[in-house]
Amino acid sequence: MTAMEGAARSAPPVAKRRKLRQLSIRDRVVLSLMAGIPTLLTVGLVWVPALASVVLSFSTWTGFGDFSTIQWVGTENYKNIFTIYPPFQPAIEHNLIWLAVFFCVPGPFGLFLAVQLDKQIRFSRIYQSVLFLPVVLSLALVGFMTELIFSPTQGLINNLTGHAEHNVIDWLGNPSLNIWAVMVMACWRQAGYVMILFLAGLKSVDPSQKEAAALDGAGGWQTFRHVVWPAMRPINIVVLVITVIESLRAFDIVYVINKGTNGLELLSVLVTDNIIGAGSRIGFGSALATILLVISMIFIVPYLISMFRKDERA
């Protein structure tokens, strides 16, 4: 990997791209199809629905019947969400908790592990593999594991601490506790992910810079703070974006445990509840989805701008 990134950066001038004029008509048709078909698919199934969410959020629609049954109600859905929809406030709070915990726990811990594993020590690969292992498990499976560990009478924690028979702690049933039990398992998975990303970032830092800093008498912490950390800026941004996106997308674990109710409400669950389940409320669900979309865009847009600005100039 390091090799590739290094090569990419110092590579001989990026491929000179030919002008379209020089292409035959047949080539132009082929190229248009090659780009066009995937674009149609992504526009049709990702972007059109995303924009439709915004449009439909100003309507009420049960989803039965055709488009003529759509009624436009302005911002009523939003008003209702903020005033008379009880699960909304806890969902926002839980999403914020998720974000804060992901930011404060797996983030720094993943970085710490990466820095330790970047040192020249034996068995580094084994440590890496073990710590990364949970990342390949699906979040739904992590949900089942959460039950194995936190179940009040059958779970590992209560049985180890003697709370399984007397003074039972209901980790998953108590609405003020269960979000924290879930967070423990979510962090278990996230830390390995963050660690690998930081490890790749650390390896892409030019070692001669570190050596130069060491020669100048900089200690480990100083070198990290003033040389390594600034050089890792691209990775830091990626980790930040992934942290935010994963917190907003969070769904599987809580859905497996109790369908995201009773203390485990999340925005993503509320959106889903309005589609599947008894009464499908397309307009209301879309308004919730739009709120989710707007929050994620706050982070996605600056990220994309910073990433593609370089290309624009090239």
């Binding site: 990997m1 390091t2 090799a3 590739m4 290094g6 090569a7 590579a11 990026v14 491929a15 791209r17 030919r18 002008k19 379209l20 080539d27 190229l31 090659m34 780009a35 995937p38 674009t39 698919l41 992504t42 049709g44 990702v46 972007w47 995303a50 969410s53 594993l117 040192k119 020249q120 020590i121 068995f123 440590y127 710590l131 292992l133 949970p134 390949v136 498990l137 699906s138 739904a140 499976l141 594991m145 039950e147 194995l148 059958q154 590992l156 398992m185 892409s204 070692p207 859905y255 497996v256 925005l267 993503s268 959106v271 589609i275 599947i276 397309i282 989805a289 989710l292 994620s296 593609f308």
Partner: protein, 306 residues
């Protein structure tokens, strides 16, 4: 990987292992102690799941969950395999994952080829469209998508349900549409590092754009494609959300999503759940251990841009 230039050998010379500084003896002991303890904590949930799965329900009931003794056997595994019809759900997962994976790689490599090797006015716009699409939360688009899926009718040979909704085709399509974003981004970055002269020489010889793509660029992308394939395999296989919402018929769900229906319905005990969960995890664990290098490089390829 093929394009490695002068920088690499020098780096290898200065830092044979990782590029870090070798810590002193006592510090190394401390470090290993810390890492061993962390790793033990990290793997404990999996070991516990395995231990639980290896014991009969009756023994844990009698002796307690955290106890030693009783019988150890693979009965929970065979029971989960048969009672829960796991082979059937594995087959569903294969029916979804394999086509979705292949078509995603094919389509994204095509877009990447066009964007990276030719200069269009809309190059950047296309890349942004794909990359940003992959970053959206799935729930932000599910409501209209669900409605669209209900409205699109399909002939019965394409979908048993007669609609895009509740069909394998529907799940495959959304995986492709969603995952193409990430793969396009990674592949286009890689294809840019392939010297343009390679394609030009072929063009002088009269090769078409398609030939350039299929016979020159694609073979050079093999390492990246392998990395993306391992990564995308786990992502698509592990999908829970699309399958839960867009596949209403429980028996057609892929295995990860199906397991959720099955608990409560078939599984009365944690020992059986643990066994089933471990069986479901086997494909991704195998891929991870067998292709660890590809897996990790796939993740990190997408995360940094030269």
């Amino acid at each position: 990987m093929t394009a490695t230039t002068t920088e690499l050998p020098r780096r290898i010379a200065t830092s044979p292992v990782a590029g870090g500084v070798r810590p002193s003896q006592t510090r190394r002991v401390l470090l290993h102690t810390f890492l061993v303890i962390t790793c033990l904590i990290w793997i404990a949930p999996l070991i516990y799941a395995l231990y639980t799965a290896l014991r009969p329900y009756e023994d844990t009931q009698r002796l307690g969950y955290v106890s030693v003794g009783g019988h150890y056997n693979l009965h929970n595994f065979t029971a989960a395999w048969q009672q829960a019809e796991l082979p059937h759900y594995f087959w569903n997962s294969a029916l979804i994952t394999v086509p979705a994976l292949i078509i995603t790689l094919l389509l994204s490599s095509m877009v990447a080829f066009v964007v990276a090797r030719f200069r269009f006015r809309i190059n950047i716009a296309l890349l942004v469209l794909f990359t940003a699409g992959n970053l959206l939360p799935q729930q932000a688009l599910i409501t209209p998508l669900f409605k669209i899926y209900q409205l699109v009718e399909l002939p019965s040979w394409m979908a048993e349900s007669g609609k895009l909704n509740d069909s394998f085709l529907g799940i495959i399509l959304i995986h492709i549409a969603f995952q193409t974003g990430f793969c396009t981004f990674v592949l286009s970055n890689y294809m840019r590092t392939i010297p343009g002269e390679l394609g030009e020489a072929a063009l002088v010889d009269g090769a078409s754009a398609w030939r350039q793509y299929w016979q020159i660029v694609m073979p050079l992308c093999r390492p990246v494609l392998a990395a993306l394939a391992t990564l995308e395999f786990t992502w698509i296989y592990n999908d829970f959300f699309w399958a839960t919402v867009l596949m209403q018929t429980g028996s057609n769900r892929p295995i990860t999503a199906a397991l959720n229906n099955l608990t409560g319905q078939f599984f009365v005990n944690n020992n059986l759940i643990a066994a089933a969960a471990l069986i479901v995890a086997v494909p991704t664990l195998v891929v991870f251990f067998a292709l660890q290098k590809q897996f990790v490089s796939g993740l990190t390829l997408g995360s940094s841009k030269g």
